[in-house]
Subunit: 393 residues, 2 copies
């Protein structure tokens, strides 16, 4: 087959595929950020974002990668020398510790282990006599597929009068984040995962109490200063402290409109189904799922590779021969797992394509499996649910 017909499928957990109508709007002429035409887009994004976070907070927006929003939380909430507690279970959780260290916090690090969840009891013990005023943790740990029960972790944090800051970069829009109901003091996220936009926008939704604490800690960053950004966004009409990433807001506006049209609950249902189909497909081949089996782990499915398979070869062959881009393992899981994402602009047949490609790749690499068995398992999940989700029965 010529290269042009090795059609390309993006199955990574960020950047994720961008819906055509989101892509198209970025090809429209550039707007001045203080012109009414942009202010309308910007104001609509600011109004729509809190609905996805399920919060009454203002969602503060930065031109940055997700890590920028994470750093904003650290600089606005911690002070050098003061204790901070990081509760991690993978690469992105560990980034919280690096960030706290970089800013001179007295970091205590509760490591649940890659593939495990952070247990509320363990957090409770770690907080005892820690003096930490802030807990930093992860909702969806993209490196392993684990989704933590941040609601329970919030209860543990609050029992010790600590605030909880949740990295929901890959989770927001894929799995429920009920920020206000669950008492999540701060939730950070990014544009390039389930929000279906290109990378480059980062978000921090901070409660009033968290914003008030930011005033004390002020001075850690100018660009990521929450008060400065909040003051701009609260103006009438809203204004950005610095030149906003105009094209990305144009994209976000369209993407948030799509989420509203589908309905947030149905968005989460779709992800739940995609996650279940991917897990059933792996089970059909007796491939071990990395991370606890969990009906909430619906952002990325991490599959342990069979013994004897050269792990680095799997994503490479899938991409080069079949045009399917999945991610391998990171850090300590390099070469040991593959990760199939289904967060954002994904439907039933995206999972089927990824599973079919994985089956063909593993066979080519010498692993004996029944071709189509994983696909069939995924098909059964979709059919039983009467899907493609939302399609006429």
């Amino acid at each position: 087959m010529t290269d042009a017909f090795i059609k390309q499928y993006l199955m990574t957990a960020g950047p994720t595929p961008v819906p055509p109508k989101v892509s198209q709007v970025m090809a429209e002429p550039m707007l001045y950020h203080r012109a009414p035409a942009f202010i309308e887009v910007y104001a609509r994004c600011l109004e729509r974002l809190p609905r996805v976070f399920q919060t009454s907070n203002d969602v503060l927006c930065f031109a940055a990668s997700g890590t920028g929003a994470m750093e904003s939380a650290v600089v606005n909430l911690t002070r050098a020398g003061e204790p901070a507690l990081v509760a991690s279970c993978g690469k992105f959780g560990e980034r919280w510790a690096e960030l706290c260290d970089a800013h001179g916090a007295a970091t205590r690090h509760l490591e649940a282990g890659w593939g495990s969840k952070v247990e509320p009891d363990a957090l409770d013990r770690a907080l005892s006599d820690s003096g930490a005023r802030t807990v930093f943790t992860t909702l969806s740990e993209t490196s392993t597929g684990v989704v933590n029960d941040v609601r329970a972790l919030a209860v543990a944090a609050h029992a010790h009068d600590a605030m909880i800051v949740v990295d929901a970069v890959s989770a927001l829009g894929a799995v429920p984040v009920r920020q206000d109901e669950w008492g999540l003091d701060v939730v950070v996220s990014g544009s390039q995962k389930a929000l279906m936009c290109p990378p480059g926008l980062a978000f921090a939704s901070a409660s009033g109490e968290a914003l008030a604490r930011a005033t004390e800690a002020a001075g850690g960053s100018y660009y990521f200063d929450w008060q400065r950004t909040a003051a701009g966004q609260r103006k009438d009409p809203p204004d950005s402290a610095f030149t906003p990433a105009v094209g990305l807001f144009m994209a976000l506006d369209v993407a948030l409109g799509m989420i509203e049209e589908e309905g947030l609950d149905r968005v989460h249902d779709r992800h739940r189904l995609l996650g279940r189909a991917a897990r059933e497909a792996a089970r059909a081949h007796d491939l071990e799922l990395y991370g606890p089996e969990d009906d909430n782990a619906n952002v990325v499915t991490a599959i342990a590779l069979p013994d004897g398979i050269d792990g680095a070869q799997v994503p490479k062959r899938m991409r080069d021969r079949f045009g399917i881009t999945i991610a391998g393992g990171q850090g300590q899981l390099k070469g040991r797992i593959v990760r199939i994402a289904h967060c954002g602009y994904f439907g039933a047949f995206d999972v089927i394509v990824a599973i079919a490609g994985l089956e063909m790749t593993l066979r080519e690499l010498g692993h004996d499996l029944e071709p189509g068995a994983g696909v069939a398992a995924a098909q059964r999940v979709f059919s039983e649910a009467g899907v493609p989700a939302g399609a006429p029965a």
Copy 2:
């Protein structure tokens, strides 16, 4: 005329108009940032950027507004309590002082006044016994149109063993920046001005000496840490420390290709001609030019409004009635000037449109002027130069 035929003209100094082929590439499918298809784009951008800065440095890239790159310079080069010297002549220069203050530097602020240039002698005096190891200044001060002689300022800084950090956000790609030849220790810029891309990418080109000093100062920021970003970019293949703004790099690659195709000298010549035409048009109406008359002030032309004109009305009417978006004054110049940009994707007839619209607007607001006189002055400049630049004679 119906709204659809009030065609839109973006004449602001950021965001600036994006060429159609740059816009179009952002409508292409998203790429995984570690896939060969993106790495090729990324590597080409990293190779092309230094040519625009005229440097052998690596140009460090951040997903951020230009202010993010400015903050990166402050956090990597200064330490709390140490003196830093800011030499400003407008709003963006003053931002350096705010940044230095935010990071606890003992900021000394040489203010040349809005509309004036920073004089090398004044900088020399300000540096005497200041103890400052770093001077922060501006090449093109977008709030007034003034372009500083940073080459001479670098000589003054170096005479006091201070490094010089230059904000070239609106200048780079419009007026010459010969970083290495002029001994500019650090030059920062952004994507949304003369680089003809949407906002969201920021750049810092730091000399080896500046990077070495960054190691001492490390700790001010994780996201903006130069060493972390440099280490990623220097890998083979290059890697970004955090998820890069993939779509903006796709755009930047096309835009840098356009600059190379035109040739950097010709790019600067075009801006010189556009600036001269805008100034001659203002002079034809006896409208005062804000900032010193300067054949190098070719980024934005700031024109003082006649007495009796309500300054806030001018950009508003030009936009609402004629579809032409120009900027008014900022800060202390609010309501007193208009600013017509010509940095980036601008040709001769963009200036003519802006001048024609300004003439019509000022007449409507009651200022007595000869319609077309400014346009004619601009036409003469272009005709004498045998332009549109680069067109057949």
